[in-house]
Amino acid sequence: MKPRVLVIAEHSGAVLNASTAKCVSCARELGPENVTVAVLGAAAGEIAEQAARLAGVDKVLHVRAPGSPAPLAATLAPQIAALAPGFSHVLGPSTTFGKDLMPRVAALLGVGQVSDVMSVLGPYSFRRPIYAGNAIVTIEARPEQTLVATVRTASYPAAGAAPAAAPIEAVELALDLPTHTRFVRAETAAAERPDLQTAARVVAGGRALGSAEGFKLVYELADALGAAVGASRAAVDSAFVANDLQVGQTGKIIAPELYVAVGISGAIQHLTGIKDARTIVAINKDADAPIFEIADVALMADLFRAVPELLAALRARG
């Protein structure tokens, strides 16, 4: 029997997150009979309409519920578990949204979860990274039970636009949802620059920038390249920038066309986050910095000289 796949949409309440289109691409690799996207926690039909226009989506389930200001796993998981019986596979993104939610869904269904699917070898056979990406395992799941997985979004392109929108079905779930978990507030930086997870170019800075003031150099270079800004854990821990800019095993896993690492040593936990970048540029004054082992283009130099020179060179060539 061909897989019937349920993809859990991630959204902000106003727009569908790009991670959903990536999950749809992964779902298509399963050779499915059909792919259904479930939109939960959204009052308006807008998100469902966005999901319906993704290529490869056969149907959208819009679970009507009072809009919640933020997704809470405690209330979403039982709803997804209630939808799951009609499906062989339930997929969510390996963003913080999906990482929080999907294991709770799996446990409610009494099944295990495959985290961070990087490739699909068959409907029940997957490759995933372990040890911060230092090893890749091929695992096989049991076909007789629901397969719950998170999709490593950096491994998949976003599904494009469909020529015609898929049908949207409104669903009412009569469930007694728990009240033990409550959203209080979000502390989100205003996003006036490209999004780190989807940007084609990323410039990231490390401890070497020395201060929040020094980190401005990274922002300048990012602006010159039209790039998003990222950071190492050391730069975040030192409060040069906010946590949402952290790249790596415990931050964001990204796959831009161009990644420029400025004053970052290249610890394995950091490298895990950038291995899928098309071109990696490293600027570091230490010839032995591990970042140079994976860099495509290496510039051994003092960043406080090299970055201003780079800015000048970029501006000169327009």
Partner: protein, 249 residues
């Protein structure tokens, strides 16, 4: 006052780079330095701070694993945990089975708060805390970078992709830690000696009635694909030239 249960997994130290066995049968970990999973150390530190602030009465450290995981529990006791339990199993458990085992311990010990790491850095699953919360039918607050207990509830700041999110959860609850929650303390020698006399119980997995059945089979373990060797450039001008030539700029 709270009773806090902290989960400590024994893993290859984060500073050690593991290698895949040439026959693809797994990762060679024999003889490597083993430590408490770094996120779990943060979880324990947080529990100890709750106790030091007078909000927790007891800190219980638990681990599931082979007999040698007692070493990590001893370290946990030396850091300041009051007592420890090792659920002994020769074969490693998948997260669902680990969560079922932890649930069995929760039912025995009735903690008000269970602290786990957001992920174990060996298998990088990131599932156990959420699964435990689901099975226990209690709240979960994952990726915590701040934790405040007020009476019957906890306020947790979570590190999410968009920045930070604050949620309130009724106790008992499950909290998983992120890196910036705290900086774990170093253990002093007198504490290590003192820890030798603290209670550490070892119970076989079978006594908890948990089936360790695996849901997944690992067919192959491979090293990650290597990137092609890069080029060195002498200055910013050459860097720009190379990037243009490659069509990146």
């Amino acid at each position: 006052m709270l009773k806090v249960m902290v989960c400590l997994k024994r893993v290859v130290d984060y500073n050690v780079r593991v290698r895949v066995k040439p026959d693809g049968s797994g990762v060679a970990i024999e003889g490597l330095k083993m430590s408490i999973n770094p996120f779990d150390e943060i979880a324990l530190e947080e529990a100890l701070r709750l106790k030091e602030r007078g909000q927790a009465a007891e800190v219980l450290a638990v681990s599931i694993g082979a007999a040698d995981a007692q070493q990590q529990l001893r370290t946990g006791l030396a850091m300041g945990a009051d007592r420890a339990i090792l659920v002994e199993t020769a074969a490693p458990l998948e997260p669902l089975a680990a969560a079922r085992t932890l649930l069995a311990l929760v039912e025995r010990e009735r903690p008000d708060l269970v602290l786990l790491g957001k992920q174990a850095i060996d298998d990088d699953h990131g599932q156990t805390g959420q699964m435990l919360a689901a099975l226990w039918q209690r709240p979960q607050a994952t990726f915590a970078s701040k934790l405040a207990i007020d009476g019957e509830a906890a306020t947790v700041t979570r590190e999410v992709d968009a920045g930070l999110e604050v949620i309130a959860v009724d106790l008992p609850a499950v909290v998983t830690t992120d890196l910036r929650l705290n900086q774990p303390r170093y253990v002093k020698l007198p504490e290590i000696l003192k820890a030798k006399t603290k209670p550490l119980a070892v119970i076989p997995l079978a006594t908890l009635g948990v089936e360790p059945t695996a849901q997944f089979a690992v067919r192959k373990t491979e090293p990650p694909p290597q990137r092609a060797r890069g080029v060195r450039v002498k200055d910013a001008a050459e860097l720009v030239a190379v990037l243009r030539q490659r069509g990146v700029l």
